[in-house]
């Protein structure tokens, strides 16, 4: 089975902290994605990556950065956490090519206090 693993299920951080959310996939997928999920807004794309060391901004990249040093790992970084970044964060991966299924991690519920 494809597995996408996010390092934490729940996380509480203080305002101004630098926060790292880690995601690892075990299916040699080219594509990896970070989404943010908020009630009434669905999932919104923060950043995505098509290959190692490659990244592209999604729809809401402000306040975030990413790192992909290895194919299987995609990290989301909150440079200076703020309370409006309290949310559910979902990582996903997929093979390259159109219409391929995305596989999701179980999400990290981040609370910034």
């Amino acid at each position: 089975d494809v597995k996408v693993t996010q390092s934490s299920r729940y996380l509480v951080k203080r305002t101004g902290e630098k926060v790292f959310l880690e995601c690892v996939q075990d299916m040699d997928h080219e594509n990896m994605f970070w989404y943010r999920q908020d009630p009434g807004l669905g999932l919104r794309l923060i950043y995505f990556s098509y290959d190692v060391k490659m990244k592209e901004k999604g729809d809401i990249p402000e306040g975030y950065s990413v790192s992909r040093e290895k194919k299987e790992r995609f990290s989301l970084i909150l440079e200076s956490a703020s309370t409006n970044q309290t949310s559910m964060y979902l990582c996903a991966s997929s093979f390259g090519g159109p219409g391929t299924e995305a596989f999701f991690g179980q999400g990290t519920r981040l609370t910034v206090v």
Partner: protein, 113 residues
């Protein structure tokens, strides 16, 4: 820009009934893919069904089927003989070219015993 709209924030039906979830979308492309994803209380997002826009035939997966109306840009999901395990958030999503998904706001479906 691509957009996906789900106009039903919540729905509730009795077990064994049939339920239809609505989704409309907007894209300027001719070649794209549409998806329904399910997120149960466990938070693990899984693919329910996929439709390729150039295929006129509606996709089906066991109790799940879609009504794809390309001209109207409508993509509804029908769940027949609903089961308690169908209780979840359902997200409609669109992808084209770059494989990144654009999601709707979600519909929370509750199946009552």
């Amino acid at each position: 820009a691509q957009t996906v709209t789900q106009s039903q924030p919540e729905m509730s039906v009795q077990e064994a009934e049939t339920v239809t979830l609505s989704c409309t979308y907007d894209t300027s492309e001719n070649n794209y893919y549409l998806f329904w994803y399910k997120q149960p209380p466990s938070r693990q997002m899984i693919l329910v069904i996929r439709q390729e826009a150039y295929k006129q035939q509606n996709a089906t997966e066991n109790r799940f089927s879609v009504n794809f109306q390309k001209a109207a840009k409508s993509f509804s999901l029908k769940i027949s003989d609903s089961q308690l395990g169908d209780t979840a958030m359902y997200f409609c999503a669109l992808s084209q070219g770059a494989q990144k998904l654009v999601f709707g706001q979600g519909t929370r479906l509750t199946i009552n015993p």
